[in-house]
Amino acid sequence: MTRFFVPGDAAAVSVGADEVAAALTGQPGVEVVRTGSRGMLWLEPLVEVATADGRVGFANVTPGQVGALLADAASVYSRQPIASAGPAPEAGHPAYLGPLDEHPWMTRQARLTTARLGVIDPADPDDYARHGGWIGLRRALGMAPEAVVEEVVASGLRGRGGAGFPAGVKWRTVAGGPGPLKFVTINADEGDSGTFADRMLMEGDPFALIEGMAITAWAVGASEGYVFIRSEYPHAIATMRRAIETARTGGWLGPDVLGSGLAFDVEVRVGAGAYICGEETSMLSTIEGRRGEVRAKPPIPALSGLFGRPTVVNNVLTVAAVPSILADGPEAYAAHGVDRSRGTQVFQLAGNVARGGLVEVDFGITLRDLVEGFGGGTRSGRPVRAVQVGGPLGAYVPADRLDVPLAYEAMADAGFMLGHGGVVVFDDTVDMGRMARFAMEFCAKESCGKCTPCRIGSQRGVETIDRLVAGGTESDRRANLALLQDLCTTMERGSLCAMGGLTPMPVRSALTYFPEDFGLSADGEPR
């Protein structure tokens, strides 16, 4: 039997991976394994074939190419020349990529959290174990909970959801919180446009999240866990639910995790199409069965979170990084990165980019290297004009500022935001006045309505940008510009959460770097 690995990841499926898998299934001598995706999304459906010399890949496979794929796989097996090797594959043949582990796009990455993505069968806990799974949990369960917390502190791991709060410090607070009932909640409400790493991890390596949650529970003394996944992610929901069931059966979850005495179980909760639920207090309200309105802090969720109990709220990637930290030691993790941004960041290259996908590298890589080196510039072939980093609430970085290093402090110092590591590329056809308007429109549609600057301010923002762009007399435009800047300040300072507080960031960056798109002169004055 020859093993073919076909991604079951939603992105791969969106361009035909299921059809390729169906065409392969039932071919004589063929075994099909559905994996996650390696993250080379521009090559999907990317099919790998197991050979004696390791796995080799074929790009953009269509169902009609399955016959040619089988012939090429046989050539690889017998070490014969491959019809589709070289820059121009023969007609009807998929492009041959060779071993993906040796592909320059992969060898330049530091895959710690995403090492198993696209490699293992996400339904098989033994496959997970063969690739380094469950080692961190076993080691953690042999340690005192406080020691586990301190290892995470020492690793320098910071929350990957966007705020970048040190994970170990948060855990310490929860561990010291009152009462016997504590929760571990995972924020998988990945609603930012340009981000998909949480989804890919849950679909491709769900046991890593489960293992990380169990370690977290041991460290802070929690007994119940929730993974809150947005409803737009049906594949991730199904994969996580199946993996949780499997983990229960295997003793990795349940009343006595791996015989350690730890009682911990996990449940998936599904969102219902509200972006704001990615805000932690909104997410907690939603799990509780209430409107997803933001709560004022304090009290912080670490002390009074879900149902008023001490609660860990961490992003998928934060907790999925924990097993390798426990397995390999905090020093190994902290050896990656720069300054106070330790470890790796899972970047997501998206939008108008030639080679989009998932790039896990040390903090400190420049935006230019990511967009041009990994991404290969725009998909359209036109010049890059702007890159939005950090989701809909992140700044638009102009093409002449791409040398900024991607780390929490360096980005903040430059007036930008790293966020969840989403990188959305725009070519020179983008109208930044429209994008600024969209930022306000999005906020108006998705605001939870709790606080006035966000609820009303965003609507007034749409209207003010419309008037500004429409023109009028110079004094009209001066007045509208002043009003828009005032409105941004009010939203920044007066909003309860990051939604209203950061919506001005894309707007202001568009005004600062692309004033001509608002009918303003280069110094931001009406002209």
Binding site: G194, G292, F307, G351, P392
Partner: protein
């Protein structure tokens, strides 16, 4: 056998989740999965079983975009308008799809903000199935009985 009324069925669904912590969202999802919508009578039944006020249940239901008071038409098309999809022509796609389907009473077209397929945009779903590199003609071809 007495046939179960809708209210009875909703009560049974709600009762199945009542022992969970924070059961309301899972219950609303389950009711909508079963009936395609959450109608006024469903709210009353859910509120009664979970010992909540009708206003509370109504407030939660109307907060979230996914929940609907009336069932959808036969086909639902969702086009992503997130920034990443806009960078590769989502607004144009949305306009084209709306123009193509404006006469189609059995198709609902709505916007969605991000389907997590941001490297392969424009993205959208047709009857729940996710498509990357979506075009208006692909939307048409994916709707049974239409070839436009």
């Amino acid at each position: 056998m007495v046939e179960m009324t809708r209210a009875d069925a909703v009560r049974e669904i709600a009762a199945g989740y009542a022992a969970q912590r924070g059961p309301l969202l899972p219950v609303l999802h389950a009711v909508q999965d079963r009936f395609g919508a959450i109608e006024r009578g469903d709210l009353v039944a859910v509120a009664d079983v979970l010992n909540l006020s009708i206003a509370d249940v109504h407030g939660v239901m109307t907060f979230f975009h996914d929940f609907r008071a009336a069932p959808p038409p036969t086909h639902v098309v969702a086009i992503c308008r997130g920034e990443a999809c806009q960078s590769v022509g989502a607004e144009r796609l949305m306009a084209d799809v709306r123009a193509d389907l404006q006469e189609a009473s059995d198709v609902e077209v709505h916007e969605v903000f991000c389907l997590g397929n941001c490297a392969l945009g424009p993205s959208g779903t047709v009857d729940g199935r996710l498509f990357g590199h979506l075009t208006a003609s692909r939307v048409g071809a994916s709707l049974p009985g239409r070839s436009s």
